[in-house]
């Protein structure tokens, strides 16, 4: 029973490592990588909700037979949307990092801000 839940273990490991990188590191690029790791963990969780035992992809071109068991198509469609939104958020975060580096000259989050 425990060995069959292995994908959920991978999701929990990704989220914990991403949260650790976001909380305990002070370089700005490492914080951005931590946010991306949490996003990858959530996408993996959304896909593993849609699997049936001994199933094939929900595509009729070249399917093994007309009565084969297929996996659920709706979680795959929602994961597609989530990946594209993750790319958009990553592009905006990196643009803000470029502006911060131009203004302050350093990438350390302990030395920016604090002006009166």
């Amino acid at each position: 029973m425990m060995a069959y839940n292995l994908p959920y273990l991978a999701v929990v490991a990704l989220v914990i490592i991403g949260l650790y990188a976001l909380l305990f590191r002070r370089n700005l690029i490492k914080m951005v990588i931590g946010i991306t790791l949490i996003e990858s963990g959530v996408n993996l969780f959304l896909i593993t909700l849609g699997f049936r035992k001994d199933s094939v992809a929900p595509i009729y071109t070249g399917a093994p037979s007309s009565k084969s068991v297929m996996s659920l198509p709706v979680p795959q469609a929602l994961t597609l949307t989530s990946i594209v939104i993750g790319v958009a958020v990553l592009a905006l975060m990196l643009t803000l990092v470029i502006h911060l580096y131009r203004h302050y000259g350093t990438l350390d989050s302990g030395k920016i801000g604090g002006e009166k």
């Binding site: 650790y20 009729y60 198509p73």
Partner: protein, 93 residues
């Protein structure tokens, strides 16, 4: 020797990790989804209602087209914001 911020971070991380590891034991087993009735209807009827051989594309563009419209809007807004933030201003001096 650890600062206050590190202690609060470790406490928060251990609470979240404990909650996530507890949820591994109580979620449904991998490979047996709970309610597959909507997806069974989509698999059985997607070829005569939309005419596509691909179930995932017919869900993305026909059965749930509004989500794709929202996603295209988010992508357009992000690209417009990035191009506007990194434009080149001419110096007048």
């Amino acid at each position: 020797m650890f600062s206050n911020r590190d202690l609060f971070g470790a406490l928060f991380l251990s609470v979240v990790a404990g909650f996530l590891i507890f949820s591994i034991f109580t979620i449904h087993p991998f490979g047996f989804p709970n309610t597959p009735e909507m997806d069974d209807y989509i698999i059985n009827n997607c070829q005569e209602e939309t005419g596509a051989n691909n179930g995932v594309t017919s869900v993305v563009f026909d059965y749930r087209g509004m989500d794709t419209l929202g996603e295209a809007t988010v992508l357009f807004t992000a690209v417009a914001a990035v191009v506007m933030l990194l434009r080149r201003v001419k110096k007048n001096d």
